[in-house]
């Protein structure tokens, strides 16, 4: 399972998301390869799952990977629910 966290530059925002996604996956006991990148690099990658914000999800529409939207990057419960909805 490969998960890609995506933001505009791939520097700050997506790294925060990635660290919190790692936290949640640990809680859920799910093994995954989590990485972060910017939105233009993401368009040529094929992870199982892309996690990003509402705005960037729009620019990735048509991407073959499944896209999960997270609105509050600091809300571990929201991230957990978003991931659980994908895994269940």
């Amino acid at each position: 399972m490969k998960i890609l966290c995506v933001c505009g530059l791939g520097q700050g925002t997506s790294l925060i998301l990635r660290m919190n996604v790692d936290n949640v996956l640990r809680q859920l006991g799910i093994q995954a390869d989590v990485d972060n990148t910017d939105v233009s690099s993401a368009s040529s990658e094929r992870p199982d799952l892309i996690i990003t914000s509402n705005e960037l999800a729009e620019s990735l529409s048509g991407h073959p990977s499944k896209i999960v939207i997270v609105n509050n990057y600091f809300d571990l419960n929201e991230i957990k629910e978003a991931l659980e909805s994908h895994f269940n």
């Binding site: 505009g8 530059l9 520097q11 925002t13 998301l17 660290m19 705005e55 609105n71 600091f74």
Partner: protein, 147 residues
């Protein structure tokens, strides 16, 4: 690494646009010699090009650019806005708290983001950041976080 030190924090700041908010937060980093002036332009440009995705939680914006845009030292400044500003984020507008991130390519980058997450993953801290009016209170908040 400089994380929310006294000269990097301002309360009740009056700005009228996202650009002005980003520039005011960036200016604090420039003032302490942590980023070059061009980095502030790059933060504003990134907002114009990539949109408000860095409004990453309700009322919280984290403007930043790339390390190669002129970061001297890993750093975070903070502005508490007097009036909430609309950045165009469907889920998280309006913005009340602005953290400008000097994104370095060193290990300190991870450490500083970790610190920011410890602070902001806690909703009570976020509420306090809206309410406090002095750096003394900020110090208490940051001190409580480490203990």
């Amino acid at each position: 690494m400089k994380f929310l030190e006294k000269n990097l924090v301002e309360f009740n700041v009056d700005v009228t646009s996202p650009d002005e908010a980003i520039r005011a937060a960036g200016k604090l980093l420039v003032g302490e010699g942590l980023v070059e002036e061009g980095y502030v332009d790059a933060m504003v440009q990134s907002y114009h090009e990539n949109g408000p995705y860095f409004v990453l939680a309700p009322q919280i914006a984290l403007p930043h650019a790339r390390p190669e845009d002129g970061v001297i030292e890993a750093s975070v400044s903070f502005l508490q806005l007097a009036n909430p500003i609309v950045f165009g984020s469907a889920s998280n507008d309006p913005v009340k708290l602005v953290f400008a991130l000097g994104a370095s390519s060193s290990n300190e980058h991870l450490e500083i983001l970790q610190k920011l997450m410890t602070l902001l993953n806690n909703q009570e801290n976020v509420q306090k950041l809206m309410d406090i009016t002095s750096y003394t209170e900020m110090e208490q908040l940051l001190g409580g976080m480490e203990s």
